[in-house]
Symmetry: C2
Subunit: 225 residues, 2 copies
């Protein structure tokens, strides 16, 4: 083998929360290497991509039919030997989204697409387990100082929903009185005159997130629980 060329892929760890558990979107590989293993959706950077971000969005849409989601760059992996096909540099991405309303569809070069609970992952292709743990760590940090958590929620949500997001991501329970007090104090929650009826008990008030109010906050972590 002569001077092997270096190729670039863009892979996305797309996270969502389902029933109090953090889940990641995986595709089942149809071809070697790692045939039949689950892997992060992604693929080679293309000359037509205007940017890495665009490439990540394109591949995510192509491989899973998921589009229009929050995406940010995570970390770039380039160790020799991480892909048996040759020297491959992978720019990884993090996506935060809701599962509701999606219509997952695998591309023709995959055997399937599915959500997996991050605490119960199968054996993964390449170093993708590593990328996912990076992603988890990033979200954990991120929800403390940014409105990242709201990407997991619909437009209107209850305080309980929001608290559940924090609990799922942080992996620990939070005191509900302190949580409400602190979050309401930040001013980023806009109270609606609507409630959400979930069963035969008291309905919960709905809120929306106000980006405008968020931008008035200091840069420091303000959503720490």
């Amino acid at each position: 083998m002569a001077s092997e060329t270096i190729r670039v892929t863009v892979d996305t760890a797309a996270l969502a929360i389902e029933q109090g558990a953090l889940e990641v979107l995986l595709v089942k590989r149809k071809y070697e290497p790692f045939k039949s293993f689950w892997a992060l959706p992604g693929g080679f950077l293309d000359e037509t991509d205007q940017s890495l971000d665009e490439a990540a969005a394109r591949e995510l849409l192509h491989e899973t039919n998921v589009g229009n989601v929050y995406l940010e760059q995570l970390y770039t992996f380039g160790d020799k030997g991480r892909d048996p096909r040759g020297r491959i540099v992978t720019v990884s991405y993090l996506a935060l989204l809701r599962q509701e309303g999606l219509e997952l569809r695998a591309s023709s070069d995959a055997r399937g697409v599915a959500w997996w609970r991050v605490n119960e992952l199968p054996e993964l292709a390449f170093d993708h387990a590593n990328i996912i743990s990076y992603a988890r760590q990033r979200v954990k940090n991120k929800i403390e100082y940014s409105p990242a958590a709201f990407n997991f929620l619909p437009e209107k949500f209850t305080l309980r929903d929001l608290q559940s997001v924090y609990e799922s991501v942080l992996g620990k329970a939070v005191d509900n009185r302190n949580f409400r007090k602190k979050f309401l104090n930040t001013g980023v929650l806009q109270e609606l005159n609507e409630t959400s009826q979930e069963g035969s008990f008291r309905p919960a008030r709905l809120y929306t997130f106000s980006l405008e109010e968020f931008e008035k906050l200091p840069d420091r972590p303000v959503f720490v629980f």
Copy 2:
């Protein structure tokens, strides 16, 4: 030009502090594109590099003769058109170091190497100004929760030295009583029985950083001023 190949470079924003000013290490380009512009040291990822980190260290050493420094990956830039030579993906790195004791030496493909104050930069090649602003932001965040600041200091330093590092990076003055109290309270500073004589005035006590003590601290930002 047929299907152009994608190439990967690794560029490093090496920061140090000199006389209360944050500075970055630049090389003057000898060839096109951006001939005679100043740029970050870096170069193409090589098949012999075991990892991106290694590539960054290799290029930094080759282009500036600076080695053995703290390096961490920063962000990856891959927009179309950011390099006139074709599609180039750049994995950027951040280095934190001291200038003392270095013997800067440009490689044969450069016209020179020099430190530049980040607040007085010349016009830079490519999107390197952008990379430097990423680097500045990263250090600013990093010194609040990690021992990153100590990379700018020698083994033994005074509290005043340490405070100057924070002031230079944060770009603001800090109350010295509160700074000392808070830093000493963290327990990460080991007091030495030595002093530093700097002039005809009271000598300052020297300290060292204790990694062992640092690791006992919580994950949250503890060096916030």
